[in-house]
């Protein structure tokens, strides 16, 4: 095992896949000469040159669509968005074209493309730079949505995503790029899309959390353990397809569930998991499923308001206390 930063794990995945397959290339804003806005693609230009590491203008719709066309015509693009907050400008290409072209042309072509980049909020970036889009894209058939929380998952899942013959959204949290973690040094390390992972075992409550929220959930679990409550944390890693079986199995053991989701409350991952648990494990529940999400308001700038806006460990602990009827 090697200890790598999150950004290094992503870079390694791209590097290995570019070395393995000539058709794989990276395009996006500042990915080449600047070495990546978050240094994810650092060194790739030197290694692969201007043909395969391509700086684009600030034209999200345009370069996302060029990626889609290139994918249809035999290449395997990785399209980096500086953040998924800007990628809403490219939503037409992702939602209307990458995810639909195959079906509406009766299976005549494939769209093997990965759209990746930072998702959700960093610190105090204001309302337009702080939105989590994983749940939104999961609404659309044809797309796979991945939101890993640790470097190891990021590497194995990104390699799978690049080899996938359909469109995949791979979301990274800007605040996790510097996060270090053990990454498998197994040659050609692959994690299949759609498989979740139990990241902490416990008998008292199941906490489902992805991306940055996993780390908040981990803090909460550490705190709860001091109080004698052992939380089981499940990171689905892939938002869609969702490993609901793993979550349901855990709930059958713990009889309680909290879903922590960086999206807004309406129609997001938390709502979906909550719904599926009541359907699959209704008789096992000792309390209604609770969700911890953003409030239904835009991100504020002001530090105290921003801190209040983003879910924290205390909210998770409060939710656990509620479902265990402790307080």
């Amino acid at each position: 095992m090697a200890e790598l930063q999150f950004r290094e794990a992503i870079r390694d995945a791209m590097d290995e896949e570019m070395a393995r397959d000539e058709r794989v290339f990276l395009m996006g804003e500042e990915v080449a000469e600047y070495n990546g806005a978050y240094k994810v693609s650092e060194g790739l230009l030197d290694k692969y040159g201007f043909k395969r590491v391509i700086d684009t203008p600030i034209s999200e719709l345009g370069f996302a669509g060029i990626g889609v066309g290139a994918a249809m015509n035999g290449l395997r693009p990785i399209v980096e968005f500086m953040t998924f907050n800007f990628a809403v400008l490219a939503a037409d290409q992702i939602i209307n074209h990458a995810s639909k072209a195959r079906y509406m042309l009766g299976g005549q072509l494939n769209t093997p493309i990965v759209f990746r980049g930072p998702n959700a909020s960093a610190g105090q970036l204001g309302a337009t730079h702080s939105v989590a889009y994983d749940s939104m894209y999961a609404q659309f058939p044809g797309l796979s949505v991945i939101y890993p929380s640790e470097p190891d998952d990021a590497k194995g899942l990104l390699k799978s995503a690049i080899r996938n013959d359909d469109a995949v959204l791979f979301m990274e949290s800007e605040q996790m790029y510097g996060l270090k973690g053990e990454v498998s040094d197994e040659e050609d390390y692959i994690i299949p899309i759609g498989k979740g992972k139990i990241k902490r075992e416990g008998d008292d409550v199941t906490i489902v959390a992805t991306g940055k929220m996993y780390h908040i959930a981990k803090q909460a679990a550490t705190q709860l353990a001091k109080d004698g409550v052992e939380a089981e944390i499940i990171d689905p890693r892939t938002i869609k397809p969702l490993d609901i079986e793993l979550i349901v199995e855990s709930v059958k053991k713990t009889n309680r569930c909290i879903v922590v989701d960086e999206s807004h409350p309406f129609g997001g991952l938390a709502s979906e998991v909550g719904f599926l648990i009541q359907r699959e494990a209704f008789d096992y529940l000792d309390a209604p499923v609770r969700r911890v999400t953003l409030p239904d308001v835009n991100a504020p700038f002001s530090k105290p308001l921003f801190d209040l806006w983003l879910p924290d460990a205390k909210e998770i602990i409060d939710a656990v206390n509620a479902v265990t009827y402790r307080k």
Binding site: I66, V68, D92, Q93, M104, Q108
Partner: protein, 367 residues
Amino acid sequence: MAKKKETDAIFTPIGIESGNNGQIEKSVDLPDPTEKSHKDLGLSDDDAIKMFEQMFLQRRFEERAMQQYQKGKFGGFLHLYIGQEAVSTGTVHALNDDDDIITAYRDHGWGLLRGVSAKSGMAELFGKATGCSKGKGGSMHFANVEEHFWGGYGIVGGHIPIGGGIAFANKYQENDRVTATFFGDGAVDQGALHETLNMSQLWNLPCIYIVENNGYSMGTAARRHTVNEIHERAKGYGMKSAVFNGMDALTVYENMKNIADEVRKDSKPWFVEIRTYRYRGHSMSDPQKYRTKEELKKYQEIDPVERMKTYLIDEKVAKKKEIEEIEQRIEDDILEAIEFADNSDFPKDEALYEDMFADTPHFHDRK
């Protein structure tokens, strides 16, 4: 409050060189057609006859499709290409068979010229499993990827970057193929076009972006929806450009051939405006109140199909009788295609979930 001038708050678009303040007027001026004969252009007699056949096929196919639509044989949108057949025909002859073509939702003609048979085209309109897109796409999504026709797309301007991407992949793979991306004049107002033109010029993509300016963006005349001459947009990107007559197949052939040859040689993109005219409404639901009958009549006098027919007879390339035989054969083929479409099965229920994924399929259930 100060008294406002009468003109202060009028948002009726004035448009190109018009003092009429939004009054309806003829939407495009046609440049002159070529004076060269098919032989001057390097086309054989057979080529010229083939061009007529192809134009007549598109015309008849759509006239019959319209009839079937009116009979209630199928639903959805039906955007007819009638009037614009010289554009597709001239282009397909000018390009190599493995050059790539992509277009918007007015796509039947393109499909018919690139391997979609009258049968599979008609069956697609009918939503049958035997359709070119297995009944999954319908009128707006004809395609034959095997013969490098990448399909019709339904979002105005949305397929323009995809055309850029197809060209990008061709350059990446160094295969000398040229990509022709067609779209209507309405699409020139979309940001997607401008982003794609900029990147295409920046990266020297081997592609041609072609506006089929048929005069109307749905019901809004070109003069009312866009400022300045459309082909002049190319100047802003330092891109080579051309504007020519799209009611004459030989003119389209001549220009597209020269442009494609140049693109193949130097991999520099072009922006082209082909002026043409659509005889029918934007789609079948369009009452066409935005234009006069006189205007339509004026264009029908220079009809591209009739023009080619007259040319073949006048130049003694084909006898009237031969032409009539061709017409009859095509007519028969299309009637057969209708019968085929009518008798074909709708897709089976299982087909609902087919073709979504190339890789591991995953569906979220709805219970």
